[in-house]
Structures are given as structure tokens and as C-alpha cells.
């Protein structure tokens, strides 16, 4: 979500919650002065990032093992790199309704409407992901 900001702003993704809640990966914004002496974390947004069907480089080893010579176009992978496109897609979805909104307005819209209370079944269901991001169908 911080695509158009400055070189001094870093986006830090964390995946610490993964073990407790198997279907989310988390990201926060970390603003850090370039020399490393100043830092300001701010709560940002979470999006799906665990066990995501994602495009994959056909020249990379699908298992991460150098002896694995298979080539795949898709793989099921986890991390903030899978979480980030969900947020980008949601931002584009919001912008399609409000073409004149600034990036900060779209960021605000995503953040202030985030879901914070999940039912117990949400925690225990690893495969309800599509349901929670099902805004296209």
C-alpha cells in the first residue's frame, strides 16, 4: 500500500501470527530513518498470505532444494509477498468505485474497515480464505 511513498519509508511484513492462525499473514508499516537511528512502527493492515496459489518462476526449484529439477508455473507458497498482492487488488477494487480518491484515502478505507473479531471457526479453518476475500464473485 505504500507504493508511491519515499525512499525513507519501509514496509515491513511480519508473519509471526502464522502459527496461531494458519491463514493470515500480517504486515505493518515500519518507518525508519535511513541511518537506522529512528524508527516508528504503525499498525497497518493484514491480508491472506499463507498457502496461497501463486505464479512461480519455472527456473526456480519448487521445493527450494537445488537437486529438485522440476519446473512449475504455479506453487502454493506463504509470506508477505503473497499477502501484498491481496492488498493491492483490494486497493484497485476500491479505486474502481472511487477513481478520484487519493492513495491515502484508499489506504484509510482499507484500514478503518478491517475485520478484528473473528469467530473461533475462522481460526480453525485453514481453507475459508477464498470466502473472506470473495468480493469479485
Amino acid at each position: 500500500m505504500t507504493i508511491r511513498i519515499f525512499a525513507y519509508l519501509y514496509v515491513l511484513g511480519t508473519t509471526e501470527g502464522v502459527a496461531k492462525c494458519c491463514l493470515l499473514s500480517y504486515s505493518i508499516v515500519l518507518i525508519r530513518y535511513v541511518s537506522g537511528i529512528f524508527y516508528l512502527p504503525q499498525p497497518d493492515i493484514s491480508a491472506p498470505g499463507v498457502e496461497i496459489l501463486a505464479a512461480y518462476s519455472p527456473v526456480a526449484s519448487p521445493s527450494g532444494n537445488a537437486d529438485d529439477k522440476r519446473s512449475v508455473k504455479y506453487n502454493v507458497v506463504s509470506g508477505t509477498s503473497m499477502s501484498c498482492p491481496h492488498v493491492a487488488g483490494a486497493a484497485a477494487y476500491v479505486k474502481s468505485f472511487h477513481p478520484n480518491w487519493s492513495p491515502s484515502a484508499i489506504t484509510s478505507a482499507l484500514m478503518t474497515t478491517g475485520i478484528i473479531h473473528f469467530s473461533r471457526s475462522f481460526y480453525t479453518s485453514c481453507f475459508s480464505l477464498a470466502y473472506h476475500m470473495n468480493f469479485i464473485c
Binding site: F6, L24, S46, S104, A105
Partner: protein
């Protein structure tokens, strides 16, 4: 996602899990311009850019961001103010009431505690004041501010922490 289940709290899950359908109609938005970001960066270090003013008021927490976070000195009483401005993107005539959830360690107030709009795109400003008697080392306290007009719920997480910066 709540603090009982996630020790990282807002630094783990942020403002919440993304919800695109609701995000299309948020009611109010917090906006920050390019100049606001430059002012924030200058407030961190006024030698960052040649256009930074010599003396700048405020600090990064003052950026008009939908979440509010501040680091305070451990075991020291604190009072922190977050100035914020929202733009009405919901119903033309609307009235929002503030709702604060907080624990025993901090006291959170918002002034004014209600916002009235007569048209779309109008802006209203308010100040969130967070006060406490002092937090232990390496701790964080979560709170939240929700503006509600009966249709929209505009939630901002508030975090006060004493966790030391790491590189």
C-alpha cells in the same frame, strides 16, 4: 484477532484483516498529502531535505494516518495528543459519535466527541488524547477509536508502547 490470542496485537495484525466490500463505503477517510509526508519526515530530522523548515512543530505521530501509535518512556507518566482530520465520503448529512475502547492502563479521550457533516467532502478535525501513569519496559497497550453514524463504523487502532527500537 484479539490481544488474548495474538501477543503482537496491532503490530501483528495491524488495523485488522482486509475487508474489500466494506472498504468501498468507509464513511470517513483520513488523508495525507505528499507535503504532509515531507513535513513528517522533516519532523524526524530537519536535515533530510533541503526544503525542510528550520523549526518544525509536531512529530511523526501527527501524520494524518488512520492508526495512532506512539512510543513513550518506560515508567514515566505521559500525555500524548494525536491531531486528526477526516473527510466525509459517506452520507451528505451525517452525525458521527465517537466510541473508545480502552483498558485500565491508559485513558483515551477525543475532542470533540461527535462530528456533524452537512455535505460530502467536508472535513472535520479532532484531537485524540492518550494519557497514562507509566508503562513497564517492553510493553504495549492497545486501544481504539471508532466513529459511528449508525451505518458506518470507522475504526482506528491506538497503540502506546515502550518497546525499544531495534535495527
Amino acid at each position: 484477532m484479539n490481544t488474548a490470542k495474538h501477543a503482537d496485537a496491532e503490530f501483528g495484525y495491524g488495523a485488522g484483516h482486509i475487508n474489500p466490500i466494506k472498504a468501498v463505503d468507509p464513511g470517513l477517510v483520513y488523508e495525507a498529502t505528499r507535503d504532509d509526508y515531507i513535513r513528517m519526515l522533516c519532523s524526524m530530522n530537519n536535515t533530510l531535505f533541503s526544503k525542510c523548515p528550520q523549526h518544525i512543530e509536531g512529530s511523526p505521530k501527527d501524520l494524518n494516518y488512520p492508526s495512532m501509535a506512539v512510543r513513550v518512556e518506560e515508567n514515566r507518566a505521559f500525555t500524548v495528543k494525536f491531531p486528526r482530520t477526516v473527510r466525509n465520503v459517506g452520507l451528505a448529512k451525517s452525525s458521527y459519535k465517537s466510541n473508545i475502547t480502552t483498558g485500565s492502563q491508559i485513558n483515551v479521550m477525543v475532542e470533540p466527541s461527535s462530528l456533524s457533516f452537512k455535505s460530502v467532502d467536508k472535513r472535520q478535525s479532532f484531537v485524540v488524547t492518550v494519557a497514562g501513569k507509566g508503562l513497564p519496559a517492553n510493553s504495549m497497550v492497545s486501544s481504539s477509536l471508532v466513529w459511528n453514524d449508525g451505518t458506518h463504523s470507522v475504526r482506528s487502532p491506538i497503540v502506546v508502547y515502550t518497546i525499544k527500537p531495534s535495527n
